[in-house]
Symmetry: C2
Subunit: 517 residues, 2 copies
């Protein structure tokens, strides 16, 4: 049967549906995207010897070149463990690093307000976070604008609507909320509009302490319960090369004390803030990550801390960061090798440099997603909605990226090769040149057999043209609008917000909490 | 360094370029995309037992259910080998299949008019063909139209321009050339505008015989030279389920006799012309492929024949074929397992159902590309320009897809993890919080370090906006126009066409060659 002859077959589907056969068949398709393991094994980009050499170079960097650590409290902690401190430079011996790594846990529970959203954070798991850290938001109706609390709330509703987004993050920065009050707004919004694992920016000890208190109160946890699991995470970016600033160092210390999760993420752009080679950028990433992980374990041995990296390249003609590039993928995979070398679960990222929701954007993000899979990232960040290298959260791109994530998640379920699934009898039932639309084998399965897209248009050209010749970006506008129209507070949110209110009111009455410089 | 602080770094790149440093550095980047091996190992979607069961089911299908073979000559060949023939049904015993498979070669040379374009056709190699078989062409300037010879010529020039497209195919069908003359036009155009491995449609014995003669004359080959290697390929589609029509059966016979390559490709759409399950569709694909491969080996044992499959699913709401879907990827990977089970190199395909060059199109094609990689397709078809499930060849999509292929090809080159590449000294040279733009390590490498995109725009949002806020589809129009403006006949084309002319003139004088029904 030729491609062009399919119109005949299509009428058969319609006929069978007109007969009302669907009333006799299975329920609609409801795949479980909530808990995923990587569908393919972890890959290598470097030899084991090369990875050992990169690891060793990172140790030499820490020992001989040192890290600049701005926070005196952090320098004191390193010094107490035997590190050499000269002014604000800290030189960390490899024995200190290796004993810290020996105490770091390999797996832990990542809790959510809704226990069904809990995750196991471990090597081999695949946890998706939407595109985060964006100062701006954009959509086709309202255009590009500085991020507001309203945008952040909508991004939460979008994340909540799709199970394949597993953790919340700071998708859009609510720039209309003063910084000393912003943690109230972001925690409250996460609890109001979602029941997924929570995120808190490390903007200094006052905000972090209040954030912990808010979450503990809202979730009604005892001190022991709060300390027993990870209820909130933060991303710690080193300032590459070799600089750990005050709020980041303080965040490492405060999250470690509370046994909440730091996701350590050097941002090493090869050719700019890192050596131009993948191996060199990874050596720097690894050194900085080891320094940060070490600090957490010196503070509180055994506290959960995620290895991480976000190494990509710059485009040398403009100096702008690039994502989803071959070099990005090579460093993702090399990063995964380094994470396995030290035995820790780890965070990587996809991303996009494109300035709009076009083929470039889809290609970059999809390449980064597959790279993250080959790299076996435990947590994969920037998987949906990221544009302009993270400067903007795009609603239409979010919808298209969720399609990509759902399609990838489908690969986690292997098809059966049982005799019933192979269906010799069905093949026998259909004459040469015939079709399978009406075999029992098809009728038993057709409502749940295939992935059902959320934005892909699989109509033929004629129908698509009659429907207005709309691109996937244009159709995505309808999708996110419907999601926002239908968004409802998750079960238990009202109670959580009720318990949260006095903490927030007390904090605000005391004047909020300043960010640390 | 924050994402937003990159503007400072960008000025450093400009400064270093203003100083004219590039005159002292290496040559521009010239990656070799001509010969590629798969960068990742072949993956599994089914257990070995399940693959054995699918293979066994395929053998049962051929033995007990049979294939309908329209061509009497083909039935006679099967019968002579011991197959049971009842009217036009052929029942092929598993002994016949297994002895045929035992004689089929595992690897062969795929020759091109330019020897530097030759390929080794074998498991583990990665050979890309553009999107093929499209009755229509489209671009943003001239719109969608029935394919013409002019469009086919342009598609050849586009394929010739990018080394990552390794083989020619029937990208656009030249509908303005009468079918009985079309093989003259398509062979002539391939030889005039490209020096890559050639393609010939199997439209019956007269066209195939003349096609062989044209190629042998143009390339100035003796009979022995022509028979010693593969100089031209054809795709053989079975008419699923279980039907082999006249021109396809005759093509198998004629290509086998001439020891040219048949790429056997059942087109099994799960839920339509094949069972709705991946395992069932693959069982049917495998049965049909084995029947066709067997015929070639019965004709001429040891002749080169590629296993192949193009199994995807239909969208049950419309009956239209879908590509790049999770089910497509699962069947790609299962198809690769079946190819390895019988030990033959094989052809798979990416593709796109999208009706325009949008995010859906990029997502579908990129997903199919990675699926083909996981499946270790020797030849991967429909990798560039395919739209509407193959009904249209899109110029802008072609350009964006070539970007995707080039990025993927870059992954075939592993980065070095040598001490020089790690660059401890470069890390030592840069102060904490500094940048690597001007280290010697960077200066030695910056002109060739990273993949240089052909259509991706890596400028920041401001510059992109100043440049007209153009999508990757819009920018691709400029790219293909420039390629066509700069297209030149490859070396030796004039001589090849000179040798070809008398054969074509004789054929046309004799009234051309009719297609077979």
């Amino acid at each position: 049967m030729d491609v062009e002859d399919l119109s005949a077959s299509q009428s058969l589907v319609s006929r069978q549906r007109r007969r009302g056969r669907e009333t006799t068949t299975k329920t609609v398709r409801a795949p479980d995207y909530r808990h995923l393991d990587h569908p393919f094994p972890a890959q290598k980009m470097f030899s084991d010897d090369e990875i050992a050499a990169i690891h060793d170079t990172a140790l030499r960097v820490l020992e001989d070149l040192g890290m600049r650590v701005l926070l005196p409290e952090a320098r004191d902690i390193y010094a107490a463990a035997g590190a050499r401190v000269v002014e604000d430079m800290v030189f960390i011996g490899r024995d200190i690093v290796s004993s810290a790594l020996a105490g770091a846990p390999r797996t832990w529970r990542l809790r959510a307000p809704n226990p069904q959203r809990d995750q196991t954070y471990a090597q081999g798991r695949m946890i998706f976070m939407a595109g985060v850290g964006c100062p701006n938001a954009t959509d086709r109706d309202r255009g590009r604008r500085p991020g507001s609390l309203a945008d952040f709330v909508e991004s939460l509703q979008l994340c909540q609507a799709y199970d394949v987004i597993h953790m919340l993050g700071p998708m859009v920065e609510p720039q209309d909320v003063p910084v000393h009050l912003r943690h109230y707004a972001t925690i409250e919004a996460q609890l109001a509009h979602s029941d997924k694992p929570l995120f808190l920016f490390s903007r200094g000890p006052a905000q972090v302490a209040q954030g912990f208190e808010m979450i503990q109160s809202a979730l009604n946890l005892t001190d022991d319960e709060f300390a027993a699991d990870v209820w909130v995470s933060t991303v710690i970016n080193t300032n590459s090369p070799r600089l750990l600033d005050n709020p980041m160092a303080k965040g490492l210390i405060d999250f470690a004390r509370a046994r909440q999760m730091c996701i350590v993420t050097p941002f090493c752009l090869a050719g700019a803030m890192a050596p131009i080679t993948p191996a060199g950028a990874l050596a720097l990433q690894h050194a900085e990550a080891l320094a940060a992980i070490t600090l957490t374990q010196l503070v509180n041995s055994g506290c959960p801390v995620s290895y991480g990296g976000f190494s990509s390249n710059v485009y040398m003609k403009s100096g702008a960061p690039a994502y989803g590039t071959p070099e990005h993928i090579k460093m993702q995979i090399g990063g995964g090798q380094l994470a396995r070398h030290i035995g820790l679960p780890w965070r990587t990222a996809s991303g996009a440099a494109s300035n709009t929701a076009d083929m470039q954007a889809a290609l970059e993000t999809t390449m980064g997603l597959w790279g993250a899979s080959m790299a076996h990232g435990t947590l994969i960040v920037h998987t949906a909605g990221w544009l302009e290298g993270g400067l903007t959260f795009g609603y239409e791109k979010f919808v298209n990226d969720v399609e990509s994530l759902q399609m990838f998640a489908e690969l986690c379920t292997r098809p059966s090769g049982s005799a019933a699934e192979i269906g010799f009898d069905a093949i026998a039932e259909v004459a040469p040149g015939g079709h399978f639309f009406q075999t029992q084998h098809t009728m038993d399965r057709y409502q749940t057999a295939f992935y059902a897209p959320i934005v892909a248009d699989l109509n033929n050209f004629g129908t698509w043209t009659e429907n207005g010749s709309r691109t996937s970006a244009e159709r995505a506008t309808d999708v996110w609008k419907q999601v926002l129209r239908e968004a409802r507070a998750p079960e238990g949110a009202a109670e959580r917000l009720e318990r949260l209110r006095p903490v927030v009111e007390a904090g605000k009455a005391a004047g909020g909490a300043p960010a640390m410089d």
